[in-house]
Amino acid sequence: MNKFCFGLLAVMVGWYGGSLYAEDDCCATVPVKKCEHKAAHGGIFNAIGSCKTGHVEVKLNGGRLQFWLLGGCCEIKRSVRVTAREITLEVIPDGEKKSRLLTLKAVPNELADEKVGDCSHFEGQADWLSPVKQFAATGELFFQGKLYKFRIEYPDGFDPDEEN
């Protein structure tokens, strides 16, 4: 073991309680009013239920809409799998009054041994979605054992705790 450098590194890192050795625990000491985590795929967070319950990261790229289901504020880096094989959204593109239906199909993460019916990632595609830059959407989902009606606002994101 390299006494000099590792000794210095270990003391310093250990001194800090190994913050790089443990998972983030954002809710431990400070009440969280707003989720300020960075989206792993560059999408936008929208809360499901409340911020503490769960999130969906939404990314729109051309006509392709992707969803990643994630945990609540303290678990926002962890994916949450659902049994749904697909998710249907009622999408109202900005400037339009009429909603359109979009179905997102499960795309399992094989590296995490996901499969359809036990999956956290969903994707959908539509030609009418290609020119859309802003939209609102609603849908329903069984999430962590409960049925939630969720709302998506893109690209602003939706947090029911802020609305209240």
């Binding site: 073991m1 390299n2 006494k3 000099f4 450098c5 590792f6 210095l8 590194l9 310093m12 890192v13 800090y16 190994g18 913050s19 790089l20 050795y21 792993a40 795929h41 560059g42 990643w68 880096k77 962890r78 994916s79 993460n109 094989e110 590296l111 995490a112 041994d113 996901e114 956290s120």
Partner: protein, 415 residues
């Protein structure tokens, strides 16, 4: 006798306070320079160079621990990953290449890592630089081919006096006192120095790890059974897009892997800056101490000049009587201050590089990283002008006092 000679004569008259002031300024400047130089070189080495590895596939656990073990041969791996899982990751569209490795043995205080021979041909340990056994580069021998062959990094070979043809028994574990395997492994090559932590390791073939005597039958079986095989981790090369940037899909790969219970993907350039963010306060404290020493030295200079002025009032009044103007005596005091400061600063710069030279040797011996005593740091560029400016201010008040000195009063008091 010219103005310069007057300055030198005056400094020699008060040689003790002159030397003390110079030495203390030199000490402060040397500390600042050494801290800044080593900090900049350490930061660059740990964060910018990447050691040719875009990402490390490792088991669940601390990302920092995995990086320190896999790339710097420190710490221990927190677990293992399955060979089949590694192969699955290799098939991802963003992965260009992967080199699996196993850590957990040592010899003579140096890590013995099992790795595929492709590592030494496929990977660049620094941008554009490959491993070499060429004597022209400082290497010897060749790459291992047989089961019972090994190669050593340059620093390991130097410390253990290794030559091709010599043999060793690997020791289980990374701490002294572990079980010594009966197998004799023969060195067939010494790698040319790379200036990276790879100089401090010994390498054996990947499959040799499993078949070392004393390992359980479960481990022995891994040599032939890929379904059961486990590795410590793998270095990954990620595909590039236009401009040489990493494929943006690496973040998706990282997310996907990190959601699994089997492994995680760690990008060294993301983890190590966090390390420096944590331990950055250490060098800020060191730098603060060094700056404090320098400021105290300048304060000492100020006090020395002020008290010397009290003793020199008669002498300065005499110089005025001999025809020196007020500006001349002002310049005399200020020049003395600047001379002491410049002498201290230049000495400090040289001494600082000497300290860095000692630090470089210690770091090279302990980590294999090569730093340069001649590295031109930010402190090298700014030390001299900043210290001179401070020296100017330290001498300004005594110089003003000298300017305002009354001739008759100060001569009369002695008559």
């Amino acid at each position: 006798m010219n103005f310069g000679a007057l300055v030198i004569k005056s400094l020699r008259q008060h040689w003790l306070s002159t030397v003390l002031a110079m030495v203390s300024i030199a000490l402060g400047v040397a500390l600042v320079n050494a801290v800044v130089s080593l900090r900049e070189q350490t930061h660059r080495s740990f964060t910018e160079e990447g050691l040719g590895v875009d990402a490390v596939l490792g088991p669940k656990g601390s990302p920092l621990q995995i990086i320190l073990n896999s790339m710097y041969h420190l710490e221990e791996m927190p677990g293992k990953i399955k060979w089949t899982y590694y192969r699955k990751v290799l098939n991802d569209e963003v992965v260009a290449n992967g080199i699996p490795f196993i850590t957990g043995h040592c010899y003579g205080g140096f890590r013995v890592n099992a790795i595929e021979a492709r590592f030494f041909s496929d990977f660049e340990f620094l941008p554009g630089r490959h491993f070499s056994f060429d004597p022209v580069d400082g290497g010897q021998g060749r790459m291992f081919q047989a089961h019972d062959e090994a190669v050593a990094g340059a620093e390991a070979a130097r410390s253990l006096h290794l030559q091709p043809g010599m043999s060793f028994n690997p020791v289980c574990g990374v701490n002294p006192g572990g079980m010594v395997h009966r197998d004799r492994i023969r060195f067939v090559g010494i790698l040319a120095p790379t200036g990276t932590p790879h100089d401090r390791a010994i390498y054996i073939p990947l499959t040799t790890f499993y078949t070392l005597s004393g390992h359980s039958s479960e481990i022995q079986e891994m040599a032939v059974n890929e379904e059961r095989r486990e590795i410590s981790g793998a270095y990954l090369k990620i595909k590039r897009i236009r401009g040489g940037a990493l494929h943006p899909g690496i973040q998706d790969l990282k997310y996907n892997l990190n959601q699994s219970s089997q492994a995680q993907l760690i990008i060294p350039n993301e983890v190590l800056p966090q390390l420096f963010g944590i331990i950055g306060w250490v060098d800020r404290v060191l730098l603060g101490v060094a700056l404090l020493v320098t400021l105290l030295a300048l304060l000492f200079l100020f006090v020395a000049l002020v008290s010397a002025l009290r003793e020199r009032r008669r002498d300065l009044a005499l110089l005025r009587c001999l025809g020196a103007t007020r500006r001349t005596v002002f310049g005399l005091i200020l020049s003395e201050s600047l001379f002491i400061t410049a002498g201290g600063a230049i000495t400090g710069l040289l001494l600082g590089h000497g300290l860095v030279m000692i630090g470089c040797e210690l770091i090279r011996v302990e980590t294999g990283l090569r730093f340069s005593a001649g590295y031109l740091s930010t402190a090298d560029i700014y030390s001299l002008p900043v210290i001179l400016a401070l020296g100017f201010f330290a001498g300004l008040i005594p110089a003003i006092q000298a300017y305002r000195l009354g001739v008759l009063n100060n001569l009369k008091s002695i008559s």
